[in-house]
Symmetry: C2
Subunit: 316 residues, 2 copies
Protein backbone atom coordinates (compact mmCIF):
# COMPACT_ATOMS: atom_id res chain seq x y z
CA UNK A 1 0.00 0.00 0.00
CA UNK A 2 1.22 3.46 -0.87
CA UNK A 3 0.31 6.37 1.38
CA UNK A 4 1.16 10.00 0.79
CA UNK A 5 0.94 12.53 3.61
CA UNK A 6 1.53 16.26 3.69
CA UNK A 7 3.21 17.29 6.89
CA UNK A 8 4.28 20.28 8.94
CA UNK A 9 6.34 19.91 12.09
CA UNK A 10 5.57 18.49 15.50
CA UNK A 11 1.94 17.40 15.04
CA UNK A 12 2.60 15.94 11.62
CA UNK A 13 5.70 14.08 12.78
CA UNK A 14 3.93 12.53 15.75
CA UNK A 15 0.99 11.47 13.59
CA UNK A 16 3.42 9.90 11.11
CA UNK A 17 4.94 7.79 13.84
CA UNK A 18 1.42 6.57 14.58
CA UNK A 19 0.83 5.87 10.92
CA UNK A 20 4.01 3.81 10.72
CA UNK A 21 2.82 1.77 13.71
CA UNK A 22 -0.64 1.33 12.17
CA UNK A 23 0.63 0.37 8.71
CA UNK A 24 4.15 -1.02 9.13
CA UNK A 25 4.16 -2.51 5.61
CA UNK A 26 2.98 0.62 3.83
CA UNK A 27 5.25 2.74 1.66
CA UNK A 28 4.80 6.18 3.12
CA UNK A 29 5.87 9.33 1.30
CA UNK A 30 5.91 12.53 3.30
CA UNK A 31 5.74 15.84 1.46
CA UNK A 32 7.23 18.30 3.88
CA UNK A 33 6.50 21.98 4.34
CA UNK A 34 9.44 24.27 3.61
CA UNK A 35 7.64 27.60 4.00
CA UNK A 36 9.01 27.87 7.55
CA UNK A 37 12.60 27.49 6.35
CA UNK A 38 14.94 30.27 7.36
CA UNK A 39 18.56 31.27 6.90
CA UNK A 40 20.25 31.89 10.23
CA UNK A 41 23.94 32.65 10.67
CA UNK A 42 24.40 31.92 6.96
CA UNK A 43 23.02 28.41 7.45
CA UNK A 44 19.85 27.00 5.93
CA UNK A 45 17.44 25.74 8.55
CA UNK A 46 14.42 23.59 7.62
CA UNK A 47 12.47 23.19 10.88
CA UNK A 48 9.61 21.03 9.58
CA UNK A 49 11.74 18.64 7.53
CA UNK A 50 14.10 18.22 10.46
CA UNK A 51 11.31 17.64 12.97
CA UNK A 52 9.94 14.84 10.79
CA UNK A 53 13.43 13.41 10.22
CA UNK A 54 14.49 13.55 13.87
CA UNK A 55 11.13 12.28 15.16
CA UNK A 56 10.95 9.27 12.84
CA UNK A 57 14.70 8.68 13.08
CA UNK A 58 14.78 8.55 16.88
CA UNK A 59 16.74 11.75 17.42
CA UNK A 60 14.01 14.12 18.59
CA UNK A 61 13.74 15.81 21.95
CA UNK A 62 10.42 14.19 22.89
CA UNK A 63 9.54 16.67 25.59
CA UNK A 64 9.66 19.77 23.44
CA UNK A 65 8.79 18.02 20.18
CA UNK A 66 11.51 19.76 18.15
CA UNK A 67 15.29 19.80 18.22
CA UNK A 68 17.70 17.08 19.21
CA UNK A 69 17.73 14.79 22.19
CA UNK A 70 20.56 15.46 24.66
CA UNK A 71 21.25 18.83 23.12
CA UNK A 72 23.69 21.55 24.17
CA UNK A 73 23.83 25.20 23.12
CA UNK A 74 27.52 26.10 23.11
CA UNK A 75 27.67 27.42 19.54
CA UNK A 76 24.64 29.65 20.10
CA UNK A 77 26.10 31.06 23.32
CA UNK A 78 29.35 31.81 21.55
CA UNK A 79 27.54 33.49 18.67
CA UNK A 80 25.74 35.70 21.17
CA UNK A 81 29.10 36.49 22.79
CA UNK A 82 30.10 37.87 19.36
CA UNK A 83 26.88 39.89 19.34
CA UNK A 84 25.52 37.70 16.57
CA UNK A 85 21.87 36.74 16.89
CA UNK A 86 19.03 36.06 16.73
CA UNK A 87 18.97 34.63 20.21
CA UNK A 88 15.28 33.73 20.00
CA UNK A 89 15.75 30.78 17.67
CA UNK A 90 16.93 27.74 19.56
CA UNK A 91 19.63 26.08 17.46
CA UNK A 92 21.52 23.48 19.47
CA UNK A 93 24.99 22.12 18.76
CA UNK A 94 23.76 18.79 17.36
CA UNK A 95 21.21 20.59 15.24
CA UNK A 96 23.88 22.97 13.93
CA UNK A 97 25.65 20.02 12.30
CA UNK A 98 22.52 19.25 10.25
CA UNK A 99 22.35 22.83 9.01
CA UNK A 100 26.08 22.91 8.25
CA UNK A 101 25.81 19.76 6.12
CA UNK A 102 22.68 21.08 4.38
CA UNK A 103 24.21 24.48 3.66
CA UNK A 104 27.40 22.96 2.32
CA UNK A 105 25.45 20.66 -0.02
CA UNK A 106 23.17 23.49 -1.21
CA UNK A 107 26.24 25.64 -1.87
CA UNK A 108 27.69 22.75 -3.89
CA UNK A 109 24.58 22.86 -6.10
CA UNK A 110 22.48 20.01 -4.77
CA UNK A 111 18.75 20.76 -4.64
CA UNK A 112 17.05 20.61 -1.23
CA UNK A 113 15.34 17.34 -2.16
CA UNK A 114 18.72 15.66 -2.74
CA UNK A 115 20.10 17.19 0.46
CA UNK A 116 17.11 15.90 2.42
CA UNK A 117 17.62 12.44 1.00
CA UNK A 118 21.30 12.54 2.01
CA UNK A 119 20.45 13.64 5.56
CA UNK A 120 17.85 10.86 5.76
CA UNK A 121 20.58 8.34 4.83
CA UNK A 122 21.73 8.82 8.38
CA UNK A 123 18.36 9.02 10.13
CA UNK A 124 16.53 6.30 8.24
CA UNK A 125 13.09 7.68 9.10
CA UNK A 126 11.33 4.74 7.41
CA UNK A 127 9.43 7.09 5.09
CA UNK A 128 10.43 8.86 1.92
CA UNK A 129 10.70 12.50 2.97
CA UNK A 130 10.52 15.02 0.10
CA UNK A 131 10.38 18.80 0.51
CA UNK A 132 7.32 20.26 -1.24
CA UNK A 133 9.63 22.21 -3.54
CA UNK A 134 13.31 22.81 -4.28
CA UNK A 135 12.48 26.46 -4.89
CA UNK A 136 12.49 29.08 -2.17
CA UNK A 137 9.04 29.66 -0.69
CA UNK A 138 8.93 31.72 2.48
CA UNK A 139 5.89 32.23 4.66
CA UNK A 140 5.61 35.88 5.60
CA UNK A 141 3.21 37.36 8.10
CA UNK A 142 1.94 40.93 7.92
CA UNK A 143 1.66 42.46 11.37
CA UNK A 144 1.00 45.89 12.85
CA UNK A 145 4.20 46.32 14.79
CA UNK A 146 3.68 48.71 17.73
CA UNK A 147 7.05 50.32 16.99
CA UNK A 148 7.53 49.95 13.26
CA UNK A 149 4.00 50.04 11.91
CA UNK A 150 2.59 47.57 9.41
CA UNK A 151 5.24 45.28 8.01
CA UNK A 152 5.82 41.76 6.76
CA UNK A 153 8.00 39.53 8.90
CA UNK A 154 9.29 36.00 8.43
CA UNK A 155 6.93 33.39 9.81
CA UNK A 156 9.52 32.26 12.35
CA UNK A 157 9.85 35.77 13.73
CA UNK A 158 6.11 35.87 14.31
CA UNK A 159 5.82 32.28 15.51
CA UNK A 160 8.94 31.85 17.62
CA UNK A 161 10.07 35.34 18.60
CA UNK A 162 6.64 36.90 19.08
CA UNK A 163 4.82 33.62 19.85
CA UNK A 164 2.01 34.90 17.63
CA UNK A 165 1.23 37.52 20.27
CA UNK A 166 0.57 40.20 17.62
CA UNK A 167 -2.38 39.38 15.35
CA UNK A 168 -1.48 38.41 11.80
CA UNK A 169 -3.18 40.75 9.35
CA UNK A 170 -2.43 38.33 6.55
CA UNK A 171 -0.19 35.39 5.78
CA UNK A 172 1.48 34.81 2.42
CA UNK A 173 3.64 32.04 1.01
CA UNK A 174 6.05 34.29 -0.87
CA UNK A 175 7.45 32.60 -3.94
CA UNK A 176 4.85 29.83 -3.96
CA UNK A 177 3.22 30.90 -7.22
CA UNK A 178 6.48 30.60 -9.14
CA UNK A 179 7.59 27.39 -7.41
CA UNK A 180 7.52 23.86 -8.79
CA UNK A 181 6.95 20.67 -6.82
CA UNK A 182 10.22 18.92 -5.99
CA UNK A 183 11.07 15.88 -8.15
CA UNK A 184 8.97 12.92 -7.06
CA UNK A 185 6.23 14.89 -5.31
CA UNK A 186 3.56 14.74 -8.01
CA UNK A 187 4.65 11.22 -9.03
CA UNK A 188 4.25 10.01 -5.43
CA UNK A 189 0.78 11.53 -5.16
CA UNK A 190 -0.27 10.01 -8.48
CA UNK A 191 1.00 6.59 -7.40
CA UNK A 192 -0.63 6.77 -3.95
CA UNK A 193 -3.52 4.58 -2.89
CA UNK A 194 -4.64 7.23 -0.45
CA UNK A 195 -3.56 10.66 0.77
CA UNK A 196 -3.78 11.62 4.43
CA UNK A 197 -3.51 15.07 5.99
CA UNK A 198 -2.15 14.76 9.53
CA UNK A 199 -3.41 17.24 12.14
CA UNK A 200 -0.83 19.77 10.95
CA UNK A 201 -1.50 23.49 10.73
CA UNK A 202 -4.07 23.92 7.91
CA UNK A 203 -2.76 27.37 6.99
CA UNK A 204 1.03 27.50 7.30
CA UNK A 205 1.78 23.77 6.90
CA UNK A 206 -0.82 21.92 4.77
CA UNK A 207 -1.98 25.20 3.17
CA UNK A 208 1.54 26.16 2.15
CA UNK A 209 2.25 22.76 0.62
CA UNK A 210 -1.01 22.95 -1.35
CA UNK A 211 0.02 26.42 -2.60
CA UNK A 212 2.82 24.92 -4.70
CA UNK A 213 1.29 24.78 -8.19
CA UNK A 214 0.45 21.22 -9.17
CA UNK A 215 0.23 19.70 -5.72
CA UNK A 216 -3.38 20.61 -4.94
CA UNK A 217 -4.54 19.41 -8.34
CA UNK A 218 -2.72 16.09 -7.96
CA UNK A 219 -4.05 15.57 -4.43
CA UNK A 220 -7.63 16.39 -5.55
CA UNK A 221 -7.67 13.36 -7.87
CA UNK A 222 -7.02 10.95 -4.98
CA UNK A 223 -8.95 9.63 -2.02
CA UNK A 224 -8.02 12.05 0.74
CA UNK A 225 -8.75 11.94 4.45
CA UNK A 226 -7.90 14.80 6.77
CA UNK A 227 -7.41 14.58 10.53
CA UNK A 228 -8.69 17.67 12.31
CA UNK A 229 -6.03 19.75 14.09
CA UNK A 230 -8.82 21.43 16.09
CA UNK A 231 -10.63 19.81 19.02
CA UNK A 232 -13.58 21.81 20.29
CA UNK A 233 -12.49 25.38 19.64
CA UNK A 234 -8.77 25.02 20.22
CA UNK A 235 -5.81 23.64 18.28
CA UNK A 236 -4.52 20.27 19.50
CA UNK A 237 -1.17 21.97 19.82
CA UNK A 238 0.59 25.04 18.48
CA UNK A 239 -1.15 28.29 17.61
CA UNK A 240 -3.20 27.28 14.56
CA UNK A 241 -6.00 29.52 15.79
CA UNK A 242 -3.85 32.60 15.20
CA UNK A 243 -3.24 31.47 11.62
CA UNK A 244 -6.89 30.62 10.94
CA UNK A 245 -8.01 34.00 12.27
CA UNK A 246 -5.58 35.68 9.86
CA UNK A 247 -7.26 34.06 6.88
CA UNK A 248 -10.77 34.68 8.25
CA UNK A 249 -11.53 31.09 9.20
CA UNK A 250 -13.06 30.15 12.54
CA UNK A 251 -11.05 27.89 14.83
CA UNK A 252 -13.28 24.82 14.66
CA UNK A 253 -13.23 21.35 13.13
CA UNK A 254 -16.27 22.43 11.12
CA UNK A 255 -14.57 25.46 9.61
CA UNK A 256 -11.30 23.66 8.81
CA UNK A 257 -13.28 20.79 7.23
CA UNK A 258 -15.02 23.37 5.04
CA UNK A 259 -11.71 25.11 4.29
CA UNK A 260 -10.36 21.89 2.82
CA UNK A 261 -13.82 21.10 1.41
CA UNK A 262 -15.21 18.40 -0.83
CA UNK A 263 -13.08 19.51 -3.75
CA UNK A 264 -10.02 18.34 -1.86
CA UNK A 265 -10.89 15.87 0.90
CA UNK A 266 -13.23 12.89 0.85
CA UNK A 267 -13.15 12.11 4.57
CA UNK A 268 -12.76 14.25 7.68
CA UNK A 269 -11.80 12.73 10.99
CA UNK A 270 -12.83 14.85 13.95
CA UNK A 271 -12.79 14.44 17.72
CA UNK A 272 -15.81 13.11 19.58
CA UNK A 273 -16.23 16.63 20.94
CA UNK A 274 -16.97 17.69 17.36
CA UNK A 275 -19.28 14.80 16.45
CA UNK A 276 -21.90 17.28 15.24
CA UNK A 277 -19.68 18.53 12.40
CA UNK A 278 -21.15 18.11 8.94
CA UNK A 279 -19.40 19.09 5.72
CA UNK A 280 -21.35 18.76 2.48
CA UNK A 281 -19.81 16.15 0.19
CA UNK A 282 -17.34 14.96 2.85
CA UNK A 283 -17.69 11.85 5.01
CA UNK A 284 -17.17 12.97 8.61
CA UNK A 285 -16.28 10.49 11.36
CA UNK A 286 -15.55 11.17 14.99
CA UNK A 287 -13.34 9.48 17.56
CA UNK A 288 -10.89 10.62 20.26
CA UNK A 289 -8.18 12.65 18.51
CA UNK A 290 -5.78 13.51 21.33
CA UNK A 291 -2.34 12.06 20.43
CA UNK A 292 -1.64 11.46 24.11
CA UNK A 293 0.74 8.53 23.62
CA UNK A 294 2.06 6.33 20.78
CA UNK A 295 -0.78 3.82 21.09
CA UNK A 296 -3.48 6.51 20.98
CA UNK A 297 -1.70 8.10 18.02
CA UNK A 298 -1.48 4.81 16.14
CA UNK A 299 -5.22 4.25 16.71
CA UNK A 300 -6.00 7.70 15.25
CA UNK A 301 -3.80 7.00 12.23
CA UNK A 302 -5.45 3.60 11.82
CA UNK A 303 -8.90 5.21 11.87
CA UNK A 304 -7.84 7.77 9.24
CA UNK A 305 -6.40 5.03 7.07
CA UNK A 306 -9.46 2.79 7.48
CA UNK A 307 -11.74 5.67 6.51
CA UNK A 308 -9.59 6.42 3.47
CA UNK A 309 -9.58 2.81 2.30
CA UNK A 310 -13.32 2.55 2.83
CA UNK A 311 -13.96 5.71 0.80
CA UNK A 312 -11.58 4.57 -1.90
CA UNK A 313 -13.47 1.28 -2.16
CA UNK A 314 -16.80 3.15 -2.45
CA UNK A 315 -15.34 5.31 -5.18
CA UNK A 316 -14.67 2.35 -7.47
CA UNK B 1 56.41 53.20 20.77
CA UNK B 2 55.08 51.37 17.72
CA UNK B 3 56.07 47.76 17.19
CA UNK B 4 55.11 45.59 14.23
CA UNK B 5 55.43 41.83 14.40
CA UNK B 6 54.76 39.15 11.82
CA UNK B 7 53.18 36.10 13.41
CA UNK B 8 52.18 32.54 12.76
CA UNK B 9 50.25 30.51 15.32
CA UNK B 10 51.19 29.11 18.70
CA UNK B 11 54.83 30.26 18.98
CA UNK B 12 54.03 33.71 17.64
CA UNK B 13 51.04 34.13 19.92
CA UNK B 14 52.96 33.14 23.05
CA UNK B 15 55.82 35.47 22.14
CA UNK B 16 53.32 38.30 21.63
CA UNK B 17 51.95 37.81 25.12
CA UNK B 18 55.53 38.18 26.35
CA UNK B 19 55.97 41.31 24.25
CA UNK B 20 52.83 42.84 25.74
CA UNK B 21 54.19 42.16 29.23
CA UNK B 22 57.58 43.64 28.30
CA UNK B 23 56.17 46.74 26.62
CA UNK B 24 52.72 47.37 28.08
CA UNK B 25 52.56 50.89 26.66
CA UNK B 26 53.61 49.99 23.12
CA UNK B 27 51.20 50.03 20.21
CA UNK B 28 51.64 46.57 18.75
CA UNK B 29 50.44 45.64 15.28
CA UNK B 30 50.43 41.96 14.41
CA UNK B 31 50.48 40.96 10.75
CA UNK B 32 49.03 37.48 10.77
CA UNK B 33 49.74 34.59 8.44
CA UNK B 34 46.70 33.44 6.44
CA UNK B 35 48.45 30.84 4.25
CA UNK B 36 47.23 28.11 6.63
CA UNK B 37 43.59 29.16 6.21
CA UNK B 38 41.27 26.45 5.04
CA UNK B 39 37.60 26.01 4.17
CA UNK B 40 36.05 23.16 6.15
CA UNK B 41 32.36 22.26 6.10
CA UNK B 42 31.75 25.39 4.04
CA UNK B 43 33.23 27.54 6.80
CA UNK B 44 36.35 29.67 6.59
CA UNK B 45 38.91 28.73 9.22
CA UNK B 46 41.92 30.97 9.96
CA UNK B 47 44.02 28.97 12.42
CA UNK B 48 46.86 31.46 12.92
CA UNK B 49 44.69 34.56 13.28
CA UNK B 50 42.46 32.72 15.75
CA UNK B 51 45.38 31.40 17.78
CA UNK B 52 46.70 34.95 18.19
CA UNK B 53 43.21 36.28 18.97
CA UNK B 54 42.33 33.57 21.47
CA UNK B 55 45.76 33.61 23.14
CA UNK B 56 45.90 37.36 23.64
CA UNK B 57 42.16 37.53 24.40
CA UNK B 58 42.26 34.93 27.15
CA UNK B 59 40.26 32.27 25.35
CA UNK B 60 43.00 29.84 24.36
CA UNK B 61 43.39 26.25 25.50
CA UNK B 62 46.78 26.78 27.16
CA UNK B 63 47.73 23.12 27.26
CA UNK B 64 47.46 22.49 23.54
CA UNK B 65 48.22 26.05 22.46
CA UNK B 66 45.38 26.24 19.91
CA UNK B 67 41.60 26.06 20.11
CA UNK B 68 39.30 27.22 22.85
CA UNK B 69 39.44 26.73 26.58
CA UNK B 70 36.73 24.44 27.99
CA UNK B 71 35.90 23.15 24.53
CA UNK B 72 33.44 20.45 23.44
CA UNK B 73 33.19 18.63 20.12
CA UNK B 74 29.49 17.94 19.64
CA UNK B 75 29.16 19.54 16.20
CA UNK B 76 32.17 17.64 14.87
CA UNK B 77 30.84 14.31 16.20
CA UNK B 78 27.48 14.99 14.57
CA UNK B 79 29.13 15.89 11.26
CA UNK B 80 30.99 12.59 11.37
CA UNK B 81 27.70 10.82 12.10
CA UNK B 82 26.52 12.28 8.77
CA UNK B 83 29.69 10.92 7.16
CA UNK B 84 30.96 14.47 6.71
CA UNK B 85 34.63 14.99 7.44
CA UNK B 86 37.47 15.62 7.67
CA UNK B 87 37.73 14.14 11.13
CA UNK B 88 41.41 15.00 11.45
CA UNK B 89 40.90 18.72 11.92
CA UNK B 90 39.86 19.49 15.49
CA UNK B 91 37.12 22.10 15.32
CA UNK B 92 35.37 22.47 18.66
CA UNK B 93 31.90 23.87 19.30
CA UNK B 94 33.12 27.24 20.62
CA UNK B 95 35.55 27.52 17.74
CA UNK B 96 32.77 26.74 15.24
CA UNK B 97 30.99 29.93 16.29
CA UNK B 98 34.03 31.99 15.26
CA UNK B 99 34.07 30.36 11.83
CA UNK B 100 30.31 30.78 11.41
CA UNK B 101 30.55 34.51 12.16
CA UNK B 102 33.57 34.87 9.86
CA UNK B 103 31.95 32.97 6.99
CA UNK B 104 28.72 34.93 7.29
CA UNK B 105 30.61 38.26 7.20
CA UNK B 106 32.78 37.16 4.25
CA UNK B 107 29.63 36.07 2.39
CA UNK B 108 28.15 39.50 3.10
CA UNK B 109 31.14 41.05 1.33
CA UNK B 110 33.38 42.14 4.19
CA UNK B 111 37.10 41.58 3.57
CA UNK B 112 38.95 39.31 5.98
CA UNK B 113 40.68 42.30 7.60
CA UNK B 114 37.30 43.82 8.53
CA UNK B 115 36.05 40.45 9.74
CA UNK B 116 39.14 40.01 11.90
CA UNK B 117 38.64 43.46 13.39
CA UNK B 118 35.01 42.58 14.19
CA UNK B 119 36.00 39.31 15.85
CA UNK B 120 38.64 41.17 17.86
CA UNK B 121 35.93 43.54 19.13
CA UNK B 122 34.93 40.64 21.32
CA UNK B 123 38.37 39.34 22.24
CA UNK B 124 40.16 42.64 22.81
CA UNK B 125 43.61 41.11 22.25
CA UNK B 126 45.35 44.40 23.09
CA UNK B 127 47.10 44.45 19.70
CA UNK B 128 45.94 45.44 16.26
CA UNK B 129 45.65 42.14 14.41
CA UNK B 130 45.64 42.40 10.60
CA UNK B 131 45.73 39.47 8.19
CA UNK B 132 48.67 39.74 5.81
CA UNK B 133 46.22 39.97 2.90
CA UNK B 134 42.50 40.00 2.12
CA UNK B 135 43.23 37.87 -0.95
CA UNK B 136 43.31 34.11 -0.90
CA UNK B 137 46.80 32.72 -0.43
CA UNK B 138 47.02 29.02 0.31
CA UNK B 139 50.13 27.17 1.33
CA UNK B 140 50.38 23.93 -0.63
CA UNK B 141 52.86 21.16 -0.03
CA UNK B 142 54.06 18.80 -2.76
CA UNK B 143 54.44 15.26 -1.43
CA UNK B 144 55.10 11.82 -2.86
CA UNK B 145 51.97 10.08 -1.67
CA UNK B 146 52.58 6.32 -1.32
CA UNK B 147 49.14 5.65 -2.86
CA UNK B 148 48.52 8.55 -5.18
CA UNK B 149 51.98 9.54 -6.36
CA UNK B 150 53.34 13.08 -6.41
CA UNK B 151 50.67 15.62 -5.65
CA UNK B 152 50.09 18.98 -3.98
CA UNK B 153 48.05 18.97 -0.79
CA UNK B 154 46.82 21.76 1.44
CA UNK B 155 49.29 22.66 4.16
CA UNK B 156 46.83 21.60 6.86
CA UNK B 157 46.51 18.14 5.35
CA UNK B 158 50.27 17.72 5.51
CA UNK B 159 50.69 19.37 8.89
CA UNK B 160 47.67 18.13 10.83
CA UNK B 161 46.53 14.95 9.08
CA UNK B 162 49.94 13.58 8.14
CA UNK B 163 51.83 15.37 10.93
CA UNK B 164 54.54 16.11 8.34
CA UNK B 165 55.39 12.40 8.30
CA UNK B 166 55.87 12.42 4.50
CA UNK B 167 58.72 14.67 3.34
CA UNK B 168 57.67 17.88 1.60
CA UNK B 169 59.22 18.02 -1.86
CA UNK B 170 58.38 21.69 -2.06
CA UNK B 171 56.18 24.26 -0.41
CA UNK B 172 54.37 27.03 -2.27
CA UNK B 173 52.21 29.93 -1.18
CA UNK B 174 49.67 29.64 -4.00
CA UNK B 175 48.19 33.01 -4.90
CA UNK B 176 50.83 35.01 -3.04
CA UNK B 177 52.29 36.60 -6.16
CA UNK B 178 48.95 38.12 -7.13
CA UNK B 179 48.00 39.13 -3.60
CA UNK B 180 48.06 42.57 -2.06
CA UNK B 181 48.79 43.44 1.57
CA UNK B 182 45.59 44.02 3.54
CA UNK B 183 44.70 47.66 4.23
CA UNK B 184 46.91 49.01 7.00
CA UNK B 185 49.68 46.44 6.70
CA UNK B 186 52.24 48.52 4.80
CA UNK B 187 51.17 51.67 6.65
CA UNK B 188 51.75 49.98 10.01
CA UNK B 189 55.19 48.79 8.96
CA UNK B 190 56.13 52.24 7.68
CA UNK B 191 54.98 53.85 10.93
CA UNK B 192 56.75 51.28 13.13
CA UNK B 193 59.73 52.12 15.31
CA UNK B 194 60.92 48.54 15.10
CA UNK B 195 59.81 45.24 13.54
CA UNK B 196 60.18 41.97 15.41
CA UNK B 197 59.93 38.44 14.05
CA UNK B 198 58.72 36.11 16.82
CA UNK B 199 60.04 32.54 16.83
CA UNK B 200 57.36 31.56 14.30
CA UNK B 201 57.95 29.12 11.48
CA UNK B 202 60.39 30.87 9.10
CA UNK B 203 58.98 29.08 6.04
CA UNK B 204 55.21 28.70 6.34
CA UNK B 205 54.51 31.60 8.73
CA UNK B 206 57.04 34.45 8.44
CA UNK B 207 58.06 33.30 4.95
CA UNK B 208 54.48 33.30 3.69
CA UNK B 209 53.77 36.76 5.09
CA UNK B 210 56.94 38.08 3.41
CA UNK B 211 55.78 36.53 0.13
CA UNK B 212 52.92 39.01 -0.15
CA UNK B 213 54.30 41.63 -2.57
CA UNK B 214 55.17 44.86 -0.78
CA UNK B 215 55.56 43.45 2.72
CA UNK B 216 59.20 42.34 2.45
CA UNK B 217 60.23 45.63 0.88
CA UNK B 218 58.49 47.64 3.59
CA UNK B 219 60.00 45.52 6.38
CA UNK B 220 63.47 45.80 4.85
CA UNK B 221 63.48 49.56 5.38
CA UNK B 222 63.00 49.17 9.14
CA UNK B 223 65.10 48.06 12.08
CA UNK B 224 64.24 44.38 12.33
CA UNK B 225 65.14 41.83 14.98
CA UNK B 226 64.35 38.14 14.59
CA UNK B 227 64.02 35.62 17.41
CA UNK B 228 65.30 32.20 16.42
CA UNK B 229 62.68 29.43 16.32
CA UNK B 230 65.53 26.88 16.38
CA UNK B 231 67.49 25.94 19.50
CA UNK B 232 70.46 23.68 18.85
CA UNK B 233 69.28 21.61 15.90
CA UNK B 234 65.57 21.41 16.72
CA UNK B 235 62.57 23.71 16.47
CA UNK B 236 61.41 25.19 19.78
CA UNK B 237 58.01 23.69 18.95
CA UNK B 238 56.17 22.44 15.91
CA UNK B 239 57.82 20.84 12.92
CA UNK B 240 59.72 23.75 11.40
CA UNK B 241 62.55 21.34 10.55
CA UNK B 242 60.31 19.57 8.02
CA UNK B 243 59.58 22.90 6.34
CA UNK B 244 63.19 24.04 6.33
CA UNK B 245 64.32 20.75 4.78
CA UNK B 246 61.74 21.24 2.01
CA UNK B 247 63.34 24.53 1.00
CA UNK B 248 66.87 23.20 1.35
CA UNK B 249 67.76 25.03 4.55
CA UNK B 250 69.45 23.34 7.50
CA UNK B 251 67.59 23.26 10.80
CA UNK B 252 69.86 25.58 12.76
CA UNK B 253 69.79 29.10 14.16
CA UNK B 254 72.73 29.82 11.85
CA UNK B 255 70.90 28.74 8.71
CA UNK B 256 67.65 30.54 9.57
CA UNK B 257 69.59 33.70 10.41
CA UNK B 258 71.21 33.47 6.97
CA UNK B 259 67.84 32.71 5.35
CA UNK B 260 66.49 36.02 6.68
CA UNK B 261 69.88 37.61 6.08
CA UNK B 262 71.24 41.16 6.40
CA UNK B 263 68.96 42.41 3.64
CA UNK B 264 66.00 41.83 5.94
CA UNK B 265 67.06 41.64 9.60
CA UNK B 266 69.43 43.80 11.58
CA UNK B 267 69.56 41.70 14.73
CA UNK B 268 69.24 37.97 15.41
CA UNK B 269 68.46 36.66 18.86
CA UNK B 270 69.59 33.06 19.37
CA UNK B 271 69.71 30.68 22.30
CA UNK B 272 72.84 30.35 24.43
CA UNK B 273 73.24 26.90 22.85
CA UNK B 274 73.80 28.72 19.56
CA UNK B 275 76.13 31.44 20.89
CA UNK B 276 78.64 30.61 18.16
CA UNK B 277 76.29 31.71 15.38
CA UNK B 278 77.62 34.49 13.16
CA UNK B 279 75.68 36.07 10.30
CA UNK B 280 77.49 38.64 8.18
CA UNK B 281 75.92 42.06 8.50
CA UNK B 282 73.61 40.98 11.31
CA UNK B 283 74.09 41.64 15.04
CA UNK B 284 73.72 38.28 16.77
CA UNK B 285 73.02 38.05 20.50
CA UNK B 286 72.42 34.96 22.59
CA UNK B 287 70.34 34.29 25.70
CA UNK B 288 68.00 31.53 26.90
CA UNK B 289 65.17 31.30 24.35
CA UNK B 290 62.88 28.66 25.80
CA UNK B 291 59.44 30.24 26.36
CA UNK B 292 58.89 28.04 29.40
CA UNK B 293 56.55 30.40 31.25
CA UNK B 294 55.14 33.93 30.90
CA UNK B 295 58.06 35.52 32.77
CA UNK B 296 60.70 33.78 30.65
CA UNK B 297 58.76 34.73 27.52
CA UNK B 298 58.52 38.38 28.58
CA UNK B 299 62.29 38.44 29.19
CA UNK B 300 62.94 37.07 25.69
CA UNK B 301 60.64 39.68 24.17
CA UNK B 302 62.33 42.39 26.23
CA UNK B 303 65.73 41.26 24.96
CA UNK B 304 64.52 41.31 21.35
CA UNK B 305 63.04 44.77 21.83
CA UNK B 306 66.18 46.10 23.58
CA UNK B 307 68.35 44.81 20.75
CA UNK B 308 66.06 46.41 18.18
CA UNK B 309 66.06 49.78 19.94
CA UNK B 310 69.83 49.64 20.33
CA UNK B 311 70.31 48.88 16.62
CA UNK B 312 67.82 51.57 15.65
CA UNK B 313 69.76 54.09 17.74
CA UNK B 314 73.04 53.06 16.04
CA UNK B 315 71.40 53.46 12.67
CA UNK B 316 70.66 57.15 13.20
Amino acid sequence: MRIVTLAGGIGGARFLRGLQAAAPEAEITVIGNTGDDISLFGLRVCPDLDTVMYTLGGGINEDQGWGRLDESFTVKEELLAYGVGPGWFGLGDRDFATHIVRTQMLAAGYPLSAVTEALCDRWKPGVRLIPMTDDQVETHVVVDDPDQGRRAIHFQEWWVRLRASIPAQSIAAVGAEESKPAPGVVEAIEAADVVIFPPSNPVVSIGTILAVPGIRAAVATKTVVGVSPIIGDAPVRGMADACLTAIGVETSAQAVGELYGPGLIDGWLVDDADAAVRVDGVEVRSRPLLMSDPEATAAIAQAALDLALELKELDK
